[in-house]
Assembly symmetry: C2
């Protein structure tokens, strides 16, 4: 069997295994990043024209591209509809970017921690992953500068608004500073914003791409966290120098994104009913976030430290006594609790023990307290064994 | 700007440009492979459960995988649902296969001519494309043997049933012979069958993958030619040794295929109404094929040779006096006619002048005769200029 060199880097996905285990109905899962079932909006298909069944354009539906560009401009991103590419979920943006930029040994710059499925596809293509540590308000700027002085990354990949997994939201000052550094060193920015609309305190700074003056950029978003992930409709907006390449890569990946989902997304983007839905979603998740925080205080205050997330879907816990959290998985699942170990969110997992990513949006509130109680018991048991 | 080495092979797509030009309403287009608008079935969405809006499994919807496996078994393909991967249109199968197999310089074996979008993605990943010529009933077997003796291709990619672009359908004997050769040399088969159901004479031999005894294989199909391409729902079925790798690649490409389209496809696959629709589709396209043949006889009998296609969507014309048909594009579009030049369907376009691919399914029958008349005039004019 002669596979590609690339295929030797195909890892068994820990996420897949955890999510599969978490399917069992008795499992209390803090593992995935799933929207709450109850908050999936009812959608209507009756008015969809038959023509949506025909082949479409690789760029995406023209009206949807216009609507997405208008939304992005309202956020401060200077763009035209011609820069918008509809993709099959924003995961596809990462696939297209990997193809455009990464050969074996290509250096790229990432936050530590970073989104694990981004890490997987970048590493699959052979990237050499340089990282910059995250602080509570964004990256460590002096470390970012030194990385840029010492390396020539093909791009930097950032999730500045309610980062997955850390929930960090970059401050205004750090957004400006990051943009200035990228312009200074001429580094392309890929800015991933799936969680922007899930803000619980009303605030969210404008995207970093809107602060760039020179560097190339790709901004990517999705309707998966706010409308329906099952539609698989995301988008990217790229600086004009990058767009034609990404379009060709999109065409060769899957011709175009499904038009049925695009049509449905268009019924919502920019509409009053979408604003209404987003507002309800924020209220709903804020209540869940608060309940989660309260249960965490009860069960984890002696075990871990964390920041209360102001948006997104996750708490990111740092254990006071670090251990390899991957070793907790089996005991947790035996207790019918699933969580996401923190190690796979780093390119060097063995150098970053002791974090847990806990999703607060999906769990049934009735089972929240029991779930965290059991998870805390698993951690306590492991500590005791460690100490023995 | 530091792109990947791969990106240097991103070609401007002739297809894209032709299809874009063909969008103008006055253009009579023989260029694309679009289903006839009138034959897109009316679909109903009222019964779709809300849960289809949630994230789904990378493998695809369990019920759809079962239905697709049952259909494939009925065709003679020995498989279980666990070997079925739902993909975002069968173009994605080619993307996943390219990732799994192709490094720069990897040898692969293709028909000449072959599907041009397959050629594009295989070449993008750096494949060294070896070809075997097609005859009226399948590949030249002695050339296939000698290629297999001289090369060690990572896989062979075949479209044995109503091939795009040539419309060739392999005979029973050649299917058996190809399978035996692949087993003898231990070469993996990727068998692409988008057109199987579009048969006009009722016949179609069983897939080649069902005749293999040892080699690994990927069989791929789609609902795009028979239901709705806008759903972007295709599938692959793989031998068990390949499936886990393809699944991981699928996950990193776009997490999973849209569930809305999967749900709709499931309403049709294996149903009586689908059989009824397919039967109507065959009748409709057979009439269009016959009308096209008749108009071709009128306008092209002195200019080209061709076989009458027994299925699929295309006529493949060989000009009696070969010339680079790409040079005809501008004159054709000036006359409001679009067609697909034959050269891009070969890895060495400059060695294969003189073919035209003409789609017969999409053109308005009222404009068919005028369209072919104008196209013939363009060819005649170019011949005259050539001779001068």
């Amino acid at each position: 069997m002669a596979f590609s060199e690339r295929a030797s880097r195909l890892k068994s996905s820990l996420i897949r295994e955890i999510l599969a285990a978490a399917q069992r109905p008795q499992v209390m899962s803090f593992a995935g990043g799933l929207p709450a079932e109850a908050m999936l909006p009812k959608v209507d298909w009756a008015d969809m024209p038959t023509s949506m069944g025909q082949y479409g354009m690789s760029e995406g539906e023209p009206a949807l591209r216009e609507a997405l560009a208008a939304e992005a401009r309202a956020l401060g991103v200077p763009c035209e509809a011609s820069q918008v590419l509809v993709v099959s979920g924003s995961q596809q943006t990462l696939d297209l970017a990997a193809k455009l930029y990464i050969d074996k040994g290509t250096e790229i710059l990432l936050e530590a921690p970073t989104y694990l499925a981004a890490l997987q596809i970048f590493q699959l293509f052979g990237a050499d992953c340089i990282t910059v540590p995250l602080e509570a308000d964004g990256p460590d700027l002096s470390k970012l500068r030194s990385r840029l002085e010492q390396h020539k990354p093909a791009f930097i990949y950032l999730i500045p608004t309610f980062q997955n997994p850390s929930a960090v939201r970059y401050s205004e000052a750090k957004r400006d500073a990051v943009a200035a550094l990228l312009d200074e060193f001429g580094v392309t920015l890929i800015e991933d914003e799936p969680y922007r609309e899930l803000t619980f305190d009303g605030g969210s700074a404008t995207p970093i791409v809107s602060r760039l003056r020179k560097s190339s950029w790709i901004y990517t978003g999705t309707v998966s966290k706010t409308l329906l992930p099952g539609l698989r409709v995301g988008y990217l907006i790229a600086s004009p120098d990058l767009f034609p390449h990404l379009l060709k890569l999109k065409q060769s990946a899957d011709l175009h994104t499904n038009r049925v989902g695009q049509w449905q997304a268009l019924q919502w983007i920019g509409s009053e009913k979408y604003q209404q839905h987003l507002s309800e979603l924020r209220d709903f998740y804020r209540v869940r976030r608060d309940a989660f925080e309260s249960a965490l205080q009860t069960h984890f205050s002696d075990l871990a430290d964390w920041q209360v997330p102001q948006g997104g879907l996750f708490f990111w816990l740092a254990l006071k006594q670090p251990l390899d959290t991957r070793t907790l998985m089996q005991a947790a699942l035996a207790a019918d609790v699933a969580f996401m170990p923190g190690e796979p969110f780093f390119p060097e997992p063995d150098e970053h023990h002791g974090h847990l990513r806990l999703n607060f949006s999906h769990i049934d509130p009735q089972r929240l307290d029991e779930g965290l109680k059991r998870l805390a018991a698993v951690v306590r048991q492991a500590r005791a064994t460690d100490a023995a």
